[in-house]
């Protein structure tokens, strides 16, 4: 899994972007000792108490949640808390290898967001619109480094507690590394605790249902893969029998 070079790959689905541009925002590399400790402290002292005590997560099938890469965790997106929740469930020592895939234009907009996004969370910043760099290649490189990606195929957070249509990017990443396990996690309640547009955190118990991992090679093609992934999510969502939130 470690041999792939970015420029050897064919980039399916992105024909109008010929040159594999360098990763314009800093990505990857080995984090320094200090930044590892900073991250560890941030999660141990702030994120974990917040997510596990103030909120509280009811998990189903936690043993299916991968804690080491290469792999992709795919979740529905309702709140900024989604990323924090998935990362709070990881062992502290593994955090530097866990990379939430996030939009560069949003998270690198100012120095504070930049500090949180890069130093504390360690996001993999991708450019939306795909003019400058190739997000698929960035993800692929991260997988080749053995990292665990967190991906929200709905794109933005959208309406709280409502499942939006998935974007196709995930199938392109999966196709380029067809043996990487892709684990669906259905999150519920975090959009109630901190919805888009609010700064007021209200404690609620939230749910995280982990599903069986999918491997692209077994699916047959990008469309079949997307079908399979969305079906998995609908099954997981139906488990909770949740009422829509208005």
């Amino acid at each position: 899994m470690t041999s792939g070079q970015a420029n050897e790959e064919t980039r399916p689905g992105r024909p109008r972007n010929p040159a594999p541009a360098p990763a314009n925002p800093p990505a990857g590399g080995i984090p320094s000792w200090r930044s590892r400790q900073l991250k560890r402290a941030f999660f141990a002292l702030f994120v974990r108490p917040l997510i596990l005590l103030v909120l509280g997560i009811n998990m189903r099938r936690r043993h299916l949640l991968p804690t080491r890469g290469p792999g992709i965790i795919v979740a529905n997106h309702n709140s900024h808390l989604d990323t924090l929740t998935l990362m709070a469930l990881m062992p502290l020592g593994r955090l530097p290898e866990v990379r939430p895939v996030a939009a560069a234009d949003y998270f690198l907009a100012n120095r504070w967001l930049r500090f949180i996004a890069l130093d504390l969370l360690g996001i993999l910043p991708i450019a939306r619109g795909g003019i400058v760099s190739n997000p698929i290649a960035l993800c692929r490189e991260a997988l080749d480094r053995g990292e665990l990606l967190i991906l929200f195929p709905e794109g933005s957070r959208g309406d709280p507690e409502r499942l939006a249509e998935f974007k196709k990017g995930i199938s392109l990443i999966a196709r380029s590394r067809p043996d990487v396990p892709i684990t669906p996690v259905f999150l519920h309640g975090l959009g109630k605790a901190l919805p888009k547009g609010s700064f007021l955190l209200v404690p609620f118990f939230c749910d995280a249902f982990v599903g069986e991992p999918i491997v692209y090679r077994d699916s047959g093609g990008p469309d079949e893969f997307m079908d399979l992934l969305e079906r998995r999510f609908r099954t997981l969502a139906a488990e909770g029998n949740f009422e829509p939130w208005e």
Binding site: S198, V202, P203, F204, F205
Partner: protein, 318 residues
């Protein structure tokens, strides 16, 4: 309080706690014996999970009691927070209520401050008058009339059942210290907690072994008359023994208190079952392995704590 103390506890409270540990040891051995044929590869049975969780809960309880009164109040506040959070996560809240719910959470530290300072008047008035009116106001001022009655009803009922009812544990602990020379507030709190929890276990055991006639089949299909009456008798007997040691109540009063706790505990239990049935869930959460959620464990106390505190206060406070 004067006199000798063991590990900071009055001797009766200490020995009561020691007795609970003996029961836990016995329960662990009983579990081992009952499951002696079970292959080790299987995941822990519900019975084993339950006993393990009991160990954890009693252990935490011990630590908190030994750490002193302030620690105990903070721990009670945390438990109430978890119970309230479970309740608010279960009910169908809406987006317009989000800000109001923060106020609901804020009542916990305020109510426990009154308990800690033993201010009975504010303790008894704050939730049913001030918080009740304030939350109604907060909801009205959102300007949303649709579903208003439903919201106001659900939120204030939850506030009473969790914050108000369970804060009596704190009040009993603090107020008991001043007026009771026997084993202090801890003795009273032990008595209340041990009797309600013992009643839960006794009802379960009697119901499992002898239960035939259903007592309230539409609400809680597993509860039987045999379980209820078995629990009532067991708890009355236990209370008659423990009461005179832990509290200033003589034997007859202790037995009556035990019977009262058994009935109140049962009512709290079926009330939470009715709520869960209405909402279509099995457990209030999955926090305590083998038991369900915090509310599943504390359901009997939502009735038992206020009933016992006020009855006791009426007859025994100077």
């Amino acid at each position: 309080m004067t006199g000798e103390r063991i590990l900071g506890l009055a001797p009766p409270a200490f020995w009561a706690l020691a007795a609970v540990y003996c029961v836990l040891v016995a329960a662990s051995f009983a579990t081992l014996w009952l499951e002696r044929g079970r292959p080790a590869s299987l995941p822990a049975s519900e019975l084993r999970q339950r006993v393990r969780s009991w160990w954890l809960m009693v252990g935490l309880f011990t630590l908190v009691v030994l750490a002193g009164r302030l620690a105990a109040i903070v721990a009670i506040g945390l438990v109430i927070f978890l119970a309230l959070k479970e309740y608010l996560s279960l009910i169908p809240t809406r987006r317009v209520e989000r800000a109001t719910l923060l106020w609901v959470y804020l009542t916990i530290p305020i109510q426990l401050t009154f308990a800690y300072h033993e201010n009975y008047e504010l303790f008894i008035v704050f939730v049913p008058v001030w918080a009740y009116l304030f939350i109604t106001m907060a909801l009205v001022l959102r300007g949303e009339t649709q579903g208003f009655l439903r919201s106001v009803g659900m939120i204030s009922w939850g506030l009473m059942m969790t914050v108000f009812a369970l804060s009596h544990l704190g009040f009993l602990l603090v107020a008991g210290d001043r007026v009771i020379p026997v084993a202090g507030g801890a003795g009273l709190l032990f008595f209340l907690l041990f009797m309600t929890q013992a009643n839960d276990v006794a009802q379960y055991v009697w119901g499992r072994s002898l239960g035939r006639r259903k007592i309230l089949p539409t609400v809680s299909p597993n509860k039987t008359w045999e379980g209820f009456l078995g629990g009532l008798v067991t708890t009355t007997v236990l209370a008659a023994i423990a009461g005179p040691l832990l509290t200033p109540m003589p034997i007859a009063w202790s037995a009556a208190a035990g019977a009262m706790l058994a009935i109140a505990g049962f009512l709290g239990d079926v009330t939470m079952s009715a709520l869960k049935r209405d909402l279509g869930v099995k457990d209030t959460s999955a926090m305590i392995p083998g038991h369900g959620g915090v509310l599943d464990r504390l359901d009997s106390l939502t009735f038992a704590a206020p009933v016992f505190t006020h009855a006791y206060r009426f007859f025994f406070f100077p």
